[in-house]
């Protein structure tokens, strides 16, 4: 016999895993950019917002069928990645890293402002891509939205892992992360790799935004808070490890759900939002290279 308490716990864990997987997906983009170019992207939230809003605009505003709207959204996301890399970051090659980091922050604010100007700050209904009628996994009710978003994310992460491991471009990306100069001497266009990292980042963030929008049934600027979770995830998982990102995302998702479920009633709310960042601070103090990162990540 399973008690209500246990069901509650399992529910928290399951939804935590589902949302955490989306964090992993978004964090993948962040880590790719860092690995390829050591640029820290301070605008992960805006990339998520951008994807969610473009998806909303194409599906509901322009009333395009999903089969057209989703690929179109991803194409627009790729264009955004190219604009960021070519227009904003490439002119800053050779400048101090602090300038490059600041410009990611500045550009993100511009993106947020443009979204606000174009579509306003009201909550926009987002189409449910998956049914929300819960089914029972043993005694635990599970909503299909969570299940399918988890499955989708895992398939995407698996596909990206295979791409990095087995395709020649993926190999060139790993080589660039390992030693940029030598990769160049072997004919790898490092600028091309940077651009590709940004495009993958904007695409996975857009996918994350679409999935989150679908899970929540609406998009508004509070989606940006989810994008910010990328920071605790990569600090927990390590900046240079794709496997770490997956584990880190799921751990953060579960942790915030548990703290929300058990501590919010005690403290009167807010713990859920804070918990991931408390972890960020603790990890930085105890294991600055992340749970799975290499100790020498700051080499060179």
């Amino acid at each position: 016999m399973v008690t209500d308490q246990a069901v509650f716990l399992l529910q928290l864990v399951i939804t935590g895993v589902a949302v955490g997987a989306v964090y992993s997906l978004m964090a993948l983009g962040f880590v790719l950019i860092y690995k390829a170019s050591t640029v820290v992207n301070f605008g992960p939230s805006e990339l998520v917002l951008f994807g969610a809003y473009v998806a909303w605009a194409t599906i509901l505003n322009m009333k395009l069928p999903l089969a057209i709207a989703l690929p179109l959204t991803l194409v627009v996301a790729i264009l955004l990645g190219l604009v960021i890399e070519r227009g904003v970051l490439r002119p800053l090659i050779g400048e101090p890293i602090i300038s490059v980091i600041m410009v990611t922050f500045g550009f993100a604010s511009v993106v947020r402002g443009v979204l606000n100007m174009a579509w306003g700050s009201d909550t926009r209904p987002f189409p449910a891509l998956f049914s929300s009628e819960p089914f029972h996994l043993g005694p635990v009710p599970v909503s299909p939205v969570h299940l399918w978003s988890f499955v989708t994310v895992m398939l995407l992460l698996a596909a990206f892992s295979l791409f990095f491991k087995f395709s020649l471009i993926g190999t060139a990306m790993r080589a660039t992360a390992d030693n940029q100069q030598v990769a160049q001497s072997l004919g790898v266009s490092v600028k091309g790799i940077f651009a590709l990292s940004w495009c993958i980042a904007t695409v996975v963030s857009a996918l994350g935004g679409i999935i989150l929008g679908s899970v929540r049934g609406g998009v508004d600027f509070s989606l940006a808070d989810y994008g910010l979770k990328v920071f605790p995830v990569v600090i927990l998982g390590g900046l240079d490890s794709v496997a770490g990102v997956i584990v880190g995302g799921v751990l953060i998702g579960v942790l915030e759900n548990l703290s929300g479920g058990y501590l919010d009633p005690v403290f009167g709310g807010g713990v859920k939002e804070v918990a991931p960042f408390v972890v960020l601070v603790l990890i930085l103090m105890l294991r600055p290279y992340g749970l799975f990162g290499r100790r020498d990540v700051e080499r060179v």
Binding site: L168, A175, D178, N179, V182, V188
Partner: protein
């Protein structure tokens, strides 16, 4: 005189107030192994870095076959067919032996990111061909059995061979070797000399060799250019160069006879 594979014309490189390379000109004929020697600080590696696009010369031109490659980026130079090795072996430490070689093959794919990401059949076919070539190279250099190992786990001798395999994977017309014998013992150096001979035969390469090991240089090179303090002081066959009084004074002066001449 046969067509020049590489020509360096009136090259100057300044680092701040220091002139590291001072009006150096030389040409390498196709198919030759050309030595570039000189005491430490003579400017050999600086010239290497100008040819491979890592430095931009202060003045002067670098020509490769029919291209003027002065100021090209390293990846552009590589794509035209110039491969290099590094003074201190520089492998992708976290990648496998095979992946190290495959990186050089990335530029040979006639596909696109999207096609590769989707794993389309024509991409698969090309990737198979590329993998076969890479295996062939590892086999040629005796590393095929180790292809799954991380590059960092190999002993130095193997790492040097892997670096050579990776350079050859670019299918270069010109191969630049920066002190390939450093860190090797006498018998390993001898084996390296023999391997260079076989490499040249099999791949129809032109080689520019920077090396401190005079035995190796005198054995394998056809022509030698000698630098001292950024200036060219002599050029000719190994025999000519060894007997050049200027070279003996600058290079072998204090230890006359060390050149085994």
């Amino acid at each position: 005189m046969a067509a020049a594979c590489l020509s360096v014309d009136d090259l100057c490189v300044n680092f701040g107030g220091l002139r590291a390379v001072d009006h150096v000109s030389f040409a390498i004929e196709s198919g030759r192994i050309h030595g570039l020697i000189g005491p430490n600080g003579a400017g050999k590696t600086t010239i290497f870095n100008c040819v491979t696009g890592f430095y931009r010369p202060t003045s002067g031109r670098v020509r490769f076959l029919e291209h003027d490659i002065t100021g090209f980026r390293p990846d552009q130079v590589a794509k035209l067919g110039i491969a290099r090795t590094f003074q201190n072996v520089q492998l992708f430490a976290s990648l496998s032996v095979l992946d190290n070689v495959l990186v050089a093959k990335h530029g040979h794919m006639r596909t696109g990111v999207l096609a590769e990401g989707l794993g389309l059949p024509f991409v698969r076919k090309q990737e198979h061909a590329v993998r076969d070539t890479a295996f062939g190279l590892l086999d040629f250099l005796g590393l095929a059995d180790l292809h799954r190992k991380p590059a960092a786990s190999l002993p130095l001798g193997h790492q040097k061979r892997l670096e050579l395999a990776r350079a050859l994977a670019l299918e270069p017309k010109l191969l630049l070797l920066d002190e390939p014998a450093s860190g090797l013992n006498t018998s390993e150096t001898q084996a390296l000399g023999e391997m260079l001979g076989r490499v040249r035969e099999r791949f129809a390469l032109t080689v520019l060799l920077v090396e401190h090991d005079m035995g190796l240089v005198m054995n394998v090179t056809d022509v030698i250019t000698v630098l001292n303090f950024g200036r060219k002081i002599a050029e000719g066959t190994p025999k000519d160069v060894q007997n050049d009084p200027e070279v003996i004074k600058a290079y072998l002066g204090e230890t006359a006879g060390a050149g085994r001449g």
